[in-house]
Protein backbone atom coordinates (compact mmCIF):
# COMPACT_ATOMS: atom_id res chain seq x y z
CA UNK A 1 0.00 0.00 0.00
CA UNK A 2 1.47 3.35 -1.06
CA UNK A 3 1.47 6.62 0.80
CA UNK A 4 -2.02 8.12 0.78
CA UNK A 5 -2.45 11.64 -0.50
CA UNK A 6 -5.38 13.85 0.48
CA UNK A 7 -6.35 16.34 -2.21
CA UNK A 8 -8.41 19.32 -1.04
CA UNK A 9 -9.74 21.52 -3.81
CA UNK A 10 -13.15 22.94 -4.72
CA UNK A 11 -12.37 22.50 -8.43
CA UNK A 12 -13.85 19.17 -9.36
CA UNK A 13 -11.94 18.82 -12.61
CA UNK A 14 -8.60 19.48 -10.90
CA UNK A 15 -9.31 16.90 -8.19
CA UNK A 16 -10.20 14.42 -10.94
CA UNK A 17 -7.05 15.14 -12.89
CA UNK A 18 -4.77 15.04 -9.84
CA UNK A 19 -6.38 11.82 -8.62
CA UNK A 20 -5.85 10.26 -12.02
CA UNK A 21 -2.22 11.32 -12.32
CA UNK A 22 -1.16 10.50 -8.76
CA UNK A 23 -3.21 7.30 -8.79
CA UNK A 24 -1.21 6.18 -11.81
CA UNK A 25 1.95 6.94 -9.84
CA UNK A 26 0.78 4.44 -7.23
CA UNK A 27 -0.52 6.78 -4.52
CA UNK A 28 -3.91 6.00 -2.99
CA UNK A 29 -6.03 9.16 -3.17
CA UNK A 30 -8.72 10.61 -0.95
CA UNK A 31 -10.28 13.98 -1.61
CA UNK A 32 -12.31 16.76 -0.09
CA UNK A 33 -13.97 19.84 -1.58
CA UNK A 34 -13.16 22.35 1.18
CA UNK A 35 -11.34 22.72 4.50
CA UNK A 36 -14.25 21.56 6.63
CA UNK A 37 -14.71 18.36 4.59
CA UNK A 38 -10.96 17.81 4.83
CA UNK A 39 -11.08 17.97 8.63
CA UNK A 40 -13.79 15.31 8.57
CA UNK A 41 -11.64 13.12 6.31
CA UNK A 42 -8.65 13.62 8.61
CA UNK A 43 -10.69 12.12 11.47
CA UNK A 44 -10.74 8.82 9.55
CA UNK A 45 -7.66 8.86 7.29
CA UNK A 46 -4.03 9.56 8.03
CA UNK A 47 -2.52 10.71 4.77
CA UNK A 48 1.19 10.96 4.11
CA UNK A 49 0.71 14.23 2.21
CA UNK A 50 -1.91 16.91 1.78
CA UNK A 51 -2.32 18.74 -1.53
CA UNK A 52 -4.27 21.83 -0.51
CA UNK A 53 -5.90 24.61 -2.49
CA UNK A 54 -5.65 28.12 -1.06
CA UNK A 55 -8.97 29.67 -2.13
CA UNK A 56 -12.03 27.55 -1.34
CA UNK A 57 -15.54 28.17 -0.04
CA UNK A 58 -16.65 27.28 3.53
CA UNK A 59 -13.09 26.93 4.89
CA UNK A 60 -10.09 27.99 2.84
CA UNK A 61 -6.60 26.52 2.81
CA UNK A 62 -5.12 28.89 5.39
CA UNK A 63 -7.99 28.27 7.80
CA UNK A 64 -7.52 24.53 7.38
CA UNK A 65 -3.80 24.89 8.14
CA UNK A 66 -4.68 26.81 11.34
CA UNK A 67 -7.13 24.10 12.36
CA UNK A 68 -4.64 21.32 11.61
CA UNK A 69 -1.97 23.19 13.55
CA UNK A 70 -4.22 23.41 16.57
CA UNK A 71 -4.85 19.66 16.34
CA UNK A 72 -1.12 18.98 16.06
CA UNK A 73 -1.51 17.43 12.61
CA UNK A 74 0.98 19.64 10.81
CA UNK A 75 3.88 17.97 12.57
CA UNK A 76 2.83 14.67 11.01
CA UNK A 77 1.48 15.63 7.59
CA UNK A 78 3.42 17.76 5.10
CA UNK A 79 1.30 20.15 3.07
CA UNK A 80 1.78 21.35 -0.52
CA UNK A 81 -0.28 24.52 -0.90
CA UNK A 82 -1.58 25.15 -4.43
CA UNK A 83 -2.57 28.60 -5.60
CA UNK A 84 -2.87 30.75 -8.69
CA UNK A 85 -2.62 33.87 -6.52
CA UNK A 86 0.52 33.65 -4.39
CA UNK A 87 0.35 37.41 -3.77
CA UNK A 88 -2.73 36.81 -1.61
CA UNK A 89 -0.96 34.47 0.80
CA UNK A 90 -0.08 35.64 4.32
CA UNK A 91 3.41 37.08 4.58
CA UNK A 92 4.06 35.59 8.04
CA UNK A 93 3.30 32.45 9.97
CA UNK A 94 3.42 30.28 6.86
CA UNK A 95 2.42 26.78 7.82
CA UNK A 96 2.75 24.93 4.51
CA UNK A 97 5.70 22.75 3.54
CA UNK A 98 5.91 23.72 -0.15
CA UNK A 99 4.11 26.00 -2.57
CA UNK A 100 2.88 24.99 -6.03
CA UNK A 101 1.80 27.80 -8.33
CA UNK A 102 -1.15 27.07 -10.61
CA UNK A 103 -1.19 26.27 -13.42
CA UNK A 104 1.47 23.65 -12.98
CA UNK A 105 2.50 20.79 -15.16
CA UNK A 106 2.65 17.11 -14.50
CA UNK A 107 6.41 16.79 -14.08
CA UNK A 108 6.52 19.72 -11.68
CA UNK A 109 3.77 18.21 -9.54
CA UNK A 110 5.18 14.71 -9.42
CA UNK A 111 8.71 15.77 -8.64
CA UNK A 112 7.51 18.05 -5.83
CA UNK A 113 5.31 15.32 -4.35
CA UNK A 114 8.24 12.87 -4.41
CA UNK A 115 10.61 15.40 -2.89
CA UNK A 116 8.27 16.30 -0.04
CA UNK A 117 7.50 12.65 0.72
CA UNK A 118 11.21 11.76 0.63
CA UNK A 119 11.99 14.56 3.09
CA UNK A 120 9.13 13.46 5.33
CA UNK A 121 10.36 9.87 5.32
CA UNK A 122 13.93 10.93 6.04
CA UNK A 123 12.95 13.34 8.72
Amino acid sequence: MGETILIVDDEYSLVESLSDILGMEGYPIVSARNGRQALEVLERVHPSLLLLDFMMPVMDGIQLLEAMDQKGLLAKIPVILMTAAPMGLPKENRKWTALLIKPFELEELISLVRRVLDTQRAG
Partner: protein
Protein backbone atom coordinates in the same frame (compact mmCIF):
# COMPACT_ATOMS: atom_id res chain seq x y z
CA UNK B 1 -9.48 27.96 -7.85
CA UNK B 2 -8.66 30.26 -10.74
CA UNK B 3 -8.31 28.82 -14.21
CA UNK B 4 -4.92 29.12 -15.81
CA UNK B 5 -4.42 32.64 -17.03
CA UNK B 6 -3.43 33.19 -20.68
CA UNK B 7 -0.29 35.00 -19.65
CA UNK B 8 0.99 31.86 -17.99
CA UNK B 9 0.36 29.81 -21.14
CA UNK B 10 2.15 32.15 -23.46
CA UNK B 11 4.45 29.60 -25.10
CA UNK B 12 3.57 29.42 -28.80
CA UNK B 13 3.05 26.17 -30.61
CA UNK B 14 3.56 26.57 -34.37
CA UNK B 15 0.90 24.84 -36.42
CA UNK B 16 3.18 23.93 -39.32
CA UNK B 17 0.54 25.32 -41.67
CA UNK B 18 2.15 28.01 -43.82
CA UNK B 19 0.57 31.39 -43.13
CA UNK B 20 -1.60 30.16 -40.24
CA UNK B 21 0.89 31.22 -37.61
CA UNK B 22 0.89 34.73 -39.08
CA UNK B 23 -2.84 34.90 -38.34
CA UNK B 24 -2.22 33.55 -34.85
CA UNK B 25 0.63 35.87 -33.97
CA UNK B 26 3.15 33.01 -33.90
CA UNK B 27 1.09 29.91 -33.20
CA UNK B 28 -1.44 28.44 -30.81
CA UNK B 29 -0.84 28.77 -27.10
CA UNK B 30 0.54 25.70 -25.41
CA UNK B 31 -1.99 23.61 -23.49
CA UNK B 32 -4.94 25.46 -24.96
CA UNK B 33 -8.04 23.82 -26.43
CA UNK B 34 -8.91 25.01 -29.92
CA UNK B 35 -11.98 24.18 -31.93
CA UNK B 36 -11.72 23.91 -35.70
CA UNK B 37 -15.13 24.06 -37.38
CA UNK B 38 -16.27 23.78 -40.96
CA UNK B 39 -18.49 21.90 -43.33
CA UNK B 40 -17.45 18.44 -44.53
CA UNK B 41 -14.68 18.90 -47.08
CA UNK B 42 -13.42 22.14 -45.57
CA UNK B 43 -10.07 20.56 -44.69
CA UNK B 44 -10.38 20.08 -40.93
CA UNK B 45 -8.76 16.65 -41.02
CA UNK B 46 -5.88 17.92 -43.13
CA UNK B 47 -5.47 20.92 -40.81
CA UNK B 48 -5.24 18.66 -37.75
CA UNK B 49 -2.99 16.04 -39.32
CA UNK B 50 -0.63 18.68 -40.67
CA UNK B 51 -0.39 20.03 -37.14
CA UNK B 52 0.32 16.52 -35.77
CA UNK B 53 2.97 15.65 -38.36
CA UNK B 54 4.65 19.01 -37.92
CA UNK B 55 4.98 18.24 -34.24
CA UNK B 56 6.19 14.76 -34.90
CA UNK B 57 8.88 16.20 -37.17
CA UNK B 58 10.03 18.28 -34.20
CA UNK B 59 10.39 15.19 -32.05
CA UNK B 60 7.17 15.32 -30.03
CA UNK B 61 4.20 12.97 -30.03
CA UNK B 62 0.60 13.45 -31.08
CA UNK B 63 -2.54 11.43 -30.44
CA UNK B 64 -5.41 11.55 -32.93
CA UNK B 65 -8.69 10.27 -31.53
CA UNK B 66 -11.63 9.72 -33.86
CA UNK B 67 -15.29 9.46 -32.91
CA UNK B 68 -17.40 8.06 -35.71
CA UNK B 69 -15.33 9.99 -38.22
CA UNK B 70 -13.86 8.26 -41.26
CA UNK B 71 -11.89 5.08 -40.60
CA UNK B 72 -8.19 5.41 -39.90
CA UNK B 73 -7.37 3.38 -42.97
CA UNK B 74 -9.31 5.69 -45.26
CA UNK B 75 -7.88 8.76 -43.59
CA UNK B 76 -4.29 7.57 -43.91
CA UNK B 77 -4.88 6.54 -47.51
CA UNK B 78 -5.95 10.06 -48.35
CA UNK B 79 -3.20 11.69 -46.32
CA UNK B 80 -0.31 9.78 -47.83
CA UNK B 81 -0.36 11.83 -51.01
CA UNK B 82 0.26 15.02 -49.03
CA UNK B 83 3.80 16.31 -48.64
CA UNK B 84 3.74 16.57 -44.85
CA UNK B 85 2.76 12.91 -44.38
CA UNK B 86 5.48 10.57 -43.07
CA UNK B 87 4.52 6.94 -42.94
CA UNK B 88 7.26 6.24 -40.38
CA UNK B 89 5.56 8.53 -37.85
CA UNK B 90 2.25 6.64 -37.95
CA UNK B 91 1.87 4.52 -34.86
CA UNK B 92 5.04 5.85 -33.30
CA UNK B 93 4.97 9.64 -33.14
CA UNK B 94 1.41 10.06 -34.38
CA UNK B 95 -0.97 7.49 -32.94
CA UNK B 96 -4.53 7.04 -34.18
CA UNK B 97 -7.17 5.75 -31.77
CA UNK B 98 -10.89 5.34 -31.90
CA UNK B 99 -12.73 6.66 -28.87
CA UNK B 100 -16.11 5.51 -30.06
CA UNK B 101 -16.42 2.24 -28.14
CA UNK B 102 -15.48 4.02 -24.88
CA UNK B 103 -18.03 6.77 -25.38
CA UNK B 104 -20.62 4.22 -26.43
CA UNK B 105 -20.14 2.11 -23.31
CA UNK B 106 -19.36 4.78 -20.70
CA UNK B 107 -20.38 8.11 -22.20
CA UNK B 108 -18.19 11.18 -21.83
CA UNK B 109 -16.52 9.75 -18.73
CA UNK B 110 -15.32 6.81 -20.80
CA UNK B 111 -13.99 9.10 -23.47
CA UNK B 112 -12.21 11.21 -20.89
CA UNK B 113 -10.49 8.13 -19.51
CA UNK B 114 -9.32 7.14 -22.99
CA UNK B 115 -7.99 10.60 -23.73
CA UNK B 116 -6.13 10.84 -20.44
CA UNK B 117 -4.57 7.46 -20.79
CA UNK B 118 -3.54 8.00 -24.40
CA UNK B 119 -1.95 11.37 -23.70
CA UNK B 120 -0.18 10.06 -20.64
CA UNK B 121 1.02 6.83 -22.23
CA UNK B 122 2.33 8.56 -25.35
CA UNK B 123 3.60 11.64 -23.52
CA UNK B 124 1.72 13.49 -26.25
CA UNK B 125 1.99 17.25 -26.57
CA UNK B 126 -0.77 17.39 -29.19
CA UNK B 127 -4.21 15.79 -28.97
CA UNK B 128 -6.81 15.85 -31.74
CA UNK B 129 -10.42 14.88 -31.15
CA UNK B 130 -12.04 14.37 -34.55
CA UNK B 131 -15.83 14.17 -34.70
CA UNK B 132 -16.76 16.10 -31.58
CA UNK B 133 -20.37 16.17 -32.74
CA UNK B 134 -20.56 12.54 -31.63
CA UNK B 135 -19.28 13.41 -28.15
CA UNK B 136 -21.86 16.19 -27.88
CA UNK B 137 -24.64 13.75 -28.75
CA UNK B 138 -23.58 11.49 -25.87
CA UNK B 139 -23.74 14.31 -23.31
CA UNK B 140 -26.77 14.03 -21.02
CA UNK B 141 -27.11 17.80 -20.92
CA UNK B 142 -25.44 20.99 -22.05
CA UNK B 143 -23.85 21.27 -18.60
CA UNK B 144 -22.50 17.74 -18.94
CA UNK B 145 -20.85 18.63 -22.20
CA UNK B 146 -19.36 21.84 -20.84
CA UNK B 147 -18.14 19.92 -17.80
CA UNK B 148 -16.39 17.47 -20.09
CA UNK B 149 -14.55 20.29 -21.86
CA UNK B 150 -13.71 21.89 -18.53
CA UNK B 151 -12.20 18.67 -17.25
CA UNK B 152 -10.27 18.30 -20.44
CA UNK B 153 -8.98 21.85 -20.04
CA UNK B 154 -7.72 21.20 -16.54
CA UNK B 155 -6.11 17.98 -17.60
CA UNK B 156 -4.31 19.30 -20.66
CA UNK B 157 -3.10 22.35 -18.75
CA UNK B 158 -1.31 20.00 -16.42
CA UNK B 159 -0.07 17.78 -19.21
CA UNK B 160 1.13 20.74 -21.31
CA UNK B 161 -0.84 19.25 -24.19
CA UNK B 162 -2.43 21.36 -26.92
CA UNK B 163 -5.80 20.13 -28.13
CA UNK B 164 -7.61 20.50 -31.44
CA UNK B 165 -11.29 19.64 -31.44
CA UNK B 166 -12.70 19.13 -34.93
CA UNK B 167 -16.39 19.62 -35.44
CA UNK B 168 -18.69 20.06 -38.39
CA UNK B 169 -20.75 23.18 -38.53
CA UNK B 170 -22.07 25.73 -40.96
CA UNK B 171 -20.03 28.66 -39.53
CA UNK B 172 -23.19 30.75 -39.53
CA UNK B 173 -22.29 32.73 -36.45
CA UNK B 174 -24.27 30.49 -34.08
CA UNK B 175 -22.61 30.43 -30.65
CA UNK B 176 -22.69 26.93 -29.28
CA UNK B 177 -22.12 26.12 -25.60
CA UNK B 178 -18.69 24.65 -26.21
CA UNK B 179 -17.59 27.84 -27.98
CA UNK B 180 -17.61 29.63 -24.65
CA UNK B 181 -15.38 26.97 -23.12
CA UNK B 182 -12.58 26.58 -25.61
CA UNK B 183 -9.56 28.86 -25.89
CA UNK B 184 -9.93 29.53 -29.58
CA UNK B 185 -12.18 29.06 -32.58
CA UNK B 186 -10.95 28.59 -36.12
CA UNK B 187 -13.57 28.51 -38.85
CA UNK B 188 -12.84 27.00 -42.24
CA UNK B 189 -15.39 28.21 -44.76
CA UNK B 190 -16.10 29.30 -48.28
CA UNK B 191 -16.63 32.78 -49.72
CA UNK B 192 -18.58 32.98 -52.92
CA UNK B 193 -17.63 35.66 -55.40
CA UNK B 194 -19.42 34.39 -58.49
CA UNK B 195 -18.24 32.72 -60.58
CA UNK B 196 -15.42 31.96 -58.19
CA UNK B 197 -15.47 30.43 -54.71
CA UNK B 198 -12.58 30.83 -52.32
CA UNK B 199 -11.76 28.87 -49.21
CA UNK B 200 -11.40 31.25 -46.29
CA UNK B 201 -10.21 30.78 -42.73
CA UNK B 202 -11.39 33.04 -39.96
CA UNK B 203 -10.36 33.15 -36.32
CA UNK B 204 -13.26 34.27 -34.17
CA UNK B 205 -11.75 33.71 -30.75
CA UNK B 206 -8.23 33.38 -29.41
CA UNK B 207 -7.87 33.79 -25.66
CA UNK B 208 -4.73 35.52 -24.52
CA UNK B 209 -3.50 36.61 -27.91
CA UNK B 210 -4.09 39.07 -30.66
CA UNK B 211 -4.77 37.70 -34.13
CA UNK B 212 -5.45 38.88 -37.68
CA UNK B 213 -9.19 39.27 -37.90
CA UNK B 214 -11.44 38.73 -40.88
CA UNK B 215 -11.39 36.28 -43.76
CA UNK B 216 -8.11 34.99 -45.12
CA UNK B 217 -7.65 32.82 -48.16
CA UNK B 218 -6.48 29.24 -47.78
CA UNK B 219 -5.79 26.52 -50.28
CA UNK B 220 -5.44 22.77 -50.13
CA UNK B 221 -2.78 21.37 -52.42
CA UNK B 222 -0.27 18.55 -52.49
CA UNK B 223 1.60 20.35 -49.72
CA UNK B 224 -1.45 20.29 -47.49
CA UNK B 225 -3.15 23.40 -46.24
CA UNK B 226 -1.64 26.84 -46.83
CA UNK B 227 -3.07 30.11 -45.57
CA UNK B 228 -2.55 33.44 -47.33
CA UNK B 229 -3.25 36.20 -44.83
CA UNK B 230 -4.99 39.24 -46.30
CA UNK B 231 -2.28 41.36 -47.87
CA UNK B 232 -3.47 44.63 -46.33
CA UNK B 233 -2.79 43.31 -42.83
CA UNK B 234 -0.25 40.57 -43.39
CA UNK B 235 2.42 42.80 -44.86
CA UNK B 236 1.86 45.88 -42.73
CA UNK B 237 4.77 44.79 -40.57
CA UNK B 238 7.00 44.77 -43.66
CA UNK B 239 6.31 48.48 -44.21
CA UNK B 240 8.99 50.70 -42.76
CA UNK B 241 7.51 54.17 -42.16
CA UNK B 242 11.00 55.56 -41.61
CA UNK B 243 12.36 54.15 -44.86
CA UNK B 244 14.86 56.61 -46.29
CA UNK B 245 13.90 57.75 -49.79
CA UNK B 246 16.71 57.06 -52.21
CA UNK B 247 18.01 59.73 -54.55
CA UNK B 248 19.64 57.15 -56.77
CA UNK B 249 18.10 56.50 -60.18
CA UNK B 250 17.37 53.27 -61.99
CA UNK B 251 17.94 53.83 -65.69
CA UNK B 252 15.58 52.44 -68.31
CA UNK B 253 18.18 51.62 -70.91
CA UNK B 254 17.55 54.53 -73.25
CA UNK B 255 19.01 58.01 -72.85
CA UNK B 256 15.85 59.68 -74.11
CA UNK B 257 13.67 57.78 -71.64
CA UNK B 258 16.00 58.54 -68.76
CA UNK B 259 16.10 62.24 -69.66
CA UNK B 260 12.29 62.39 -69.57
CA UNK B 261 12.37 61.10 -66.01
CA UNK B 262 15.20 63.27 -64.77
CA UNK B 263 17.72 60.42 -64.96
CA UNK B 264 15.50 57.35 -64.62
CA UNK B 265 13.09 56.02 -62.03
CA UNK B 266 13.99 56.83 -58.46
CA UNK B 267 15.19 53.68 -56.69
CA UNK B 268 12.42 52.15 -54.60
CA UNK B 269 9.69 54.00 -56.46
CA UNK B 270 6.69 52.49 -58.20
CA UNK B 271 5.69 53.52 -61.69
CA UNK B 272 2.58 52.90 -63.73
CA UNK B 273 2.90 52.64 -67.50
CA UNK B 274 -0.52 53.40 -68.88
CA UNK B 275 -1.49 52.82 -72.47
CA UNK B 276 -3.62 51.04 -75.00
CA UNK B 277 -2.96 47.61 -76.39
CA UNK B 278 0.11 47.36 -78.61
CA UNK B 279 1.62 50.69 -77.67
CA UNK B 280 4.79 49.18 -76.15
CA UNK B 281 4.10 48.83 -72.44
CA UNK B 282 5.46 45.29 -72.12
CA UNK B 283 8.55 46.19 -74.13
CA UNK B 284 9.12 49.17 -71.84
CA UNK B 285 8.92 46.88 -68.82
CA UNK B 286 11.26 44.30 -70.33
CA UNK B 287 13.67 47.07 -71.27
CA UNK B 288 13.62 48.33 -67.69
CA UNK B 289 14.53 44.83 -66.48
CA UNK B 290 17.10 44.31 -69.23
CA UNK B 291 18.92 47.44 -68.18
CA UNK B 292 18.99 46.15 -64.61
CA UNK B 293 20.22 42.70 -65.63
CA UNK B 294 22.91 44.31 -67.78
CA UNK B 295 24.10 46.22 -64.72
CA UNK B 296 24.22 43.01 -62.68
CA UNK B 297 21.03 43.67 -60.71
CA UNK B 298 18.46 41.02 -59.87
CA UNK B 299 15.22 41.48 -61.74
CA UNK B 300 11.80 39.85 -61.78
CA UNK B 301 9.16 39.73 -64.51
CA UNK B 302 5.80 38.98 -62.85
CA UNK B 303 3.33 38.52 -65.67
CA UNK B 304 -0.12 37.21 -66.39
CA UNK B 305 -0.30 36.91 -70.14
CA UNK B 306 2.87 36.08 -71.99
CA UNK B 307 4.40 32.78 -70.96
CA UNK B 308 8.12 32.53 -70.11
CA UNK B 309 8.80 30.94 -73.51
CA UNK B 310 7.05 33.80 -75.30
CA UNK B 311 8.98 36.35 -73.27
CA UNK B 312 12.31 34.70 -73.99
CA UNK B 313 11.51 34.76 -77.70
CA UNK B 314 10.39 38.37 -77.54
CA UNK B 315 13.49 39.36 -75.58
CA UNK B 316 15.77 37.69 -78.10
CA UNK B 317 14.02 39.53 -80.94
CA UNK B 318 14.78 42.78 -79.14
CA UNK B 319 18.39 41.83 -78.52
CA UNK B 320 18.26 40.83 -74.85
CA UNK B 321 19.91 37.54 -73.80
CA UNK B 322 17.08 36.55 -71.48
CA UNK B 323 18.05 32.90 -71.43
CA UNK B 324 21.53 33.76 -70.17
CA UNK B 325 20.15 36.17 -67.58
CA UNK B 326 17.70 33.55 -66.36
CA UNK B 327 20.56 31.10 -65.97
CA UNK B 328 22.78 33.60 -64.17
CA UNK B 329 19.93 34.64 -61.84
CA UNK B 330 19.88 38.24 -63.02
CA UNK B 331 16.41 37.76 -64.34
CA UNK B 332 13.52 35.69 -63.05
CA UNK B 333 10.13 35.14 -64.61
CA UNK B 334 7.06 34.29 -62.56
CA UNK B 335 4.12 33.62 -64.78
CA UNK B 336 0.60 33.46 -63.37
CA UNK B 337 -2.51 32.41 -65.16
CA UNK B 338 -4.94 35.32 -64.82
CA UNK B 339 -7.78 32.82 -64.54
CA UNK B 340 -6.36 31.21 -61.41
CA UNK B 341 -5.50 34.33 -59.52
CA UNK B 342 -6.42 34.93 -55.92
CA UNK B 343 -5.48 38.39 -54.80
CA UNK B 344 -3.71 37.48 -51.58
CA UNK B 345 -2.07 34.45 -53.11
CA UNK B 346 -0.58 36.72 -55.79
CA UNK B 347 0.76 39.13 -53.20
CA UNK B 348 2.34 36.32 -51.22
CA UNK B 349 3.93 34.78 -54.32
CA UNK B 350 5.19 38.12 -55.50
CA UNK B 351 6.57 39.48 -52.25
CA UNK B 352 8.04 36.18 -51.16
CA UNK B 353 9.85 35.89 -54.49
CA UNK B 354 11.08 39.47 -54.27
CA UNK B 355 12.39 38.89 -50.77
CA UNK B 356 13.87 35.45 -51.35
CA UNK B 357 15.52 36.31 -54.67
CA UNK B 358 16.80 39.71 -53.53
CA UNK B 359 15.02 41.45 -56.40
CA UNK B 360 16.01 45.06 -57.14
CA UNK B 361 13.85 45.70 -60.22
CA UNK B 362 10.34 44.38 -60.64
CA UNK B 363 8.08 44.49 -63.67
CA UNK B 364 4.42 43.54 -63.21
CA UNK B 365 2.59 43.01 -66.49
CA UNK B 366 -0.15 44.07 -65.81
CA UNK B 367 -2.45 45.46 -63.19
CA UNK B 368 -5.41 43.71 -64.77
CA UNK B 369 -4.09 40.38 -63.47
CA UNK B 370 -4.72 41.58 -59.93
CA UNK B 371 -8.07 43.08 -60.85
CA UNK B 372 -9.26 39.76 -62.24
CA UNK B 373 -8.52 38.26 -58.84
CA UNK B 374 -9.89 41.07 -56.71
CA UNK B 375 -12.94 42.28 -55.04
CA UNK B 376 -13.06 45.79 -56.51
CA UNK B 377 -13.26 47.60 -53.19
CA UNK B 378 -9.94 46.16 -52.08
CA UNK B 379 -7.76 47.26 -54.99
CA UNK B 380 -6.67 50.70 -53.80
CA UNK B 381 -5.72 49.53 -50.29
CA UNK B 382 -4.10 46.41 -51.68
CA UNK B 383 -1.95 48.31 -54.17
CA UNK B 384 -1.05 50.92 -51.57
CA UNK B 385 0.34 48.24 -49.22
CA UNK B 386 2.04 46.38 -52.06
CA UNK B 387 3.70 49.64 -53.17
CA UNK B 388 4.73 50.55 -49.63
CA UNK B 389 6.26 47.14 -49.03
CA UNK B 390 8.19 47.22 -52.31
CA UNK B 391 9.40 50.75 -51.59
CA UNK B 392 10.46 49.64 -48.13
CA UNK B 393 12.47 46.84 -49.74
CA UNK B 394 14.00 49.42 -52.11
CA UNK B 395 12.62 47.58 -55.12
CA UNK B 396 12.04 49.76 -58.17
CA UNK B 397 8.78 48.67 -59.72
CA UNK B 398 7.07 49.23 -63.04
CA UNK B 399 3.49 48.08 -63.55
CA UNK B 400 1.48 48.23 -66.74
CA UNK B 401 -2.18 49.12 -67.05
CA UNK B 402 -4.12 48.96 -70.28
CA UNK B 403 -6.49 51.73 -71.28
CA UNK B 404 -9.62 50.31 -72.83
CA UNK B 405 -9.86 52.41 -75.96
CA UNK B 406 -7.34 53.67 -78.45
CA UNK B 407 -8.82 57.17 -78.66
CA UNK B 408 -10.72 58.69 -75.78
CA UNK B 409 -11.76 62.14 -74.59
CA UNK B 410 -10.21 61.86 -71.14
CA UNK B 411 -7.27 59.83 -69.93
CA UNK B 412 -8.55 57.38 -67.33
CA UNK B 413 -6.70 54.91 -65.17
CA UNK B 414 -9.13 52.04 -65.54
CA UNK B 415 -8.61 50.91 -61.93
CA UNK B 416 -10.30 53.42 -59.68
CA UNK B 417 -8.53 55.10 -56.79
CA UNK B 418 -5.07 53.73 -57.44
CA UNK B 419 -3.15 56.69 -58.88
CA UNK B 420 -1.97 57.73 -55.41
CA UNK B 421 -0.25 54.36 -55.02
CA UNK B 422 2.24 55.23 -57.78
CA UNK B 423 5.17 57.62 -57.59
CA UNK B 424 5.36 57.91 -61.37
CA UNK B 425 2.88 57.62 -64.18
CA UNK B 426 3.97 57.24 -67.80
CA UNK B 427 1.48 57.48 -70.62
CA UNK B 428 2.05 55.68 -73.90
CA UNK B 429 -0.16 56.41 -76.89
CA UNK B 430 -0.51 55.70 -80.52
CA UNK B 431 -1.70 58.61 -82.62
CA UNK B 432 -2.83 58.69 -86.18
CA UNK B 433 -0.94 61.24 -88.18
CA UNK B 434 -1.02 61.43 -91.92
CA UNK B 435 -2.45 57.93 -92.19
CA UNK B 436 0.25 56.48 -89.95
CA UNK B 437 0.14 55.26 -86.37
CA UNK B 438 2.90 56.92 -84.39
CA UNK B 439 3.92 56.14 -80.84
CA UNK B 440 4.22 58.84 -78.19
CA UNK B 441 5.24 58.75 -74.56
CA UNK B 442 4.91 61.34 -71.83
CA UNK B 443 5.42 61.58 -68.10
CA UNK B 444 2.21 62.50 -66.33
CA UNK B 445 3.48 62.35 -62.78
CA UNK B 446 6.67 61.95 -60.82
CA UNK B 447 6.50 62.37 -57.06
CA UNK B 448 9.17 64.60 -55.51
CA UNK B 449 11.04 64.80 -58.77
CA UNK B 450 11.34 66.90 -61.90
CA UNK B 451 10.32 65.47 -65.26
CA UNK B 452 9.98 66.59 -68.86
CA UNK B 453 6.59 67.96 -69.76
CA UNK B 454 6.87 67.34 -73.48
CA UNK B 455 5.50 64.49 -75.54
CA UNK B 456 8.14 62.32 -77.15
CA UNK B 457 7.86 60.09 -80.15
CA UNK B 458 9.42 56.68 -79.88
CA UNK B 459 10.11 53.66 -82.00
CA UNK B 460 10.33 50.06 -80.89
CA UNK B 461 13.58 48.66 -82.20
CA UNK B 462 16.48 46.48 -81.09
CA UNK B 463 17.04 47.44 -77.47
CA UNK B 464 13.41 48.40 -76.87
CA UNK B 465 11.93 51.86 -76.82
CA UNK B 466 14.07 54.41 -78.61
CA UNK B 467 12.86 57.82 -77.54
CA UNK B 468 13.71 60.75 -79.73
CA UNK B 469 13.34 64.48 -79.36
CA UNK B 470 10.28 66.25 -78.09
CA UNK B 471 7.41 65.93 -80.52
CA UNK B 472 5.78 69.04 -81.90
CA UNK B 473 3.58 67.57 -84.55
CA UNK B 474 0.26 69.03 -83.44
CA UNK B 475 -2.28 69.44 -80.69
CA UNK B 476 -4.66 67.04 -79.02
CA UNK B 477 -2.09 64.28 -79.39
CA UNK B 478 -2.85 62.66 -76.06
CA UNK B 479 -6.39 62.06 -77.20
CA UNK B 480 -5.07 60.37 -80.29
CA UNK B 481 -6.74 62.93 -82.54
CA UNK B 482 -3.96 65.32 -83.55
CA UNK B 483 -4.78 68.50 -85.27
CA UNK B 484 -2.24 70.18 -87.47
CA UNK B 485 0.12 67.24 -87.86
CA UNK B 486 2.73 66.88 -90.54
CA UNK B 487 4.01 63.87 -92.34
CA UNK B 488 7.54 64.80 -91.43
CA UNK B 489 6.83 65.45 -87.83
CA UNK B 490 7.79 69.05 -88.32
CA UNK B 491 5.70 71.71 -86.57
CA UNK B 492 2.80 73.07 -88.56
CA UNK B 493 0.61 76.06 -87.83
CA UNK B 494 -1.93 74.72 -85.37
CA UNK B 495 -5.60 75.15 -86.13
CA UNK B 496 -7.61 77.61 -84.04
CA UNK B 497 -9.38 74.90 -82.04
CA UNK B 498 -8.73 75.39 -78.29
CA UNK B 499 -6.30 72.89 -76.87
CA UNK B 500 -7.76 71.00 -73.99
CA UNK B 501 -5.28 69.69 -71.54
CA UNK B 502 -5.82 65.99 -70.97
CA UNK B 503 -7.09 65.18 -67.55
CA UNK B 504 -5.76 62.32 -65.46
CA UNK B 505 -8.78 60.84 -63.86
CA UNK B 506 -9.62 57.69 -62.02
CA UNK B 507 -12.32 55.78 -63.75
CA UNK B 508 -15.63 56.82 -62.20
CA UNK B 509 -17.25 54.14 -60.10
CA UNK B 510 -20.57 52.83 -61.24
CA UNK B 511 -23.23 54.46 -59.12
CA UNK B 512 -26.00 52.21 -60.28
CA UNK B 513 -28.13 55.22 -61.06
Amino acid sequence: MSPPTPETLAERIPTGIPGMDTLLGGGLLRAGIYMVTGRPGAGKTIFANQFCFHHASRGTNAVYVTLLAETHGRMLNQLQSLAFFRREYVGSKVRYLSGFSDIESDGLAGLMRTLRQAVRDDKASVLVIDGMVTAASYAKSEVDYKKFIHELQTWVAMMGCTVLILTSGPNDGTVRPEHTMVDGLVELGVRHLPPRSSRVVRITKFRGSGFLEGDHLYQISGSGLSVYPRCEVAFQSWVDPLHVVSAERAGLGNPGLDRMLGGGLRRGSTALALGSSGCGKTVLGMQFLAEGARRGEKTLHFGFFETPAALIFKGEQLGWPLRAWLESGHQHILWQSPAEGQLDLLAHRLLTAVRDLGIQRLFIDGLVGFKEAAESERMSGYLAVLGEVLTGMNVTTLITEETRQLFVDDVHIPTGGVSAAFHNILFLRQVELDAKLRRLISVMKTRDSIHARDLFEFEIAQGGLDVGAAFSGGNNLMKGEPRGGTTSGQPQVPPPAPRRKPKLLARPRKSGK
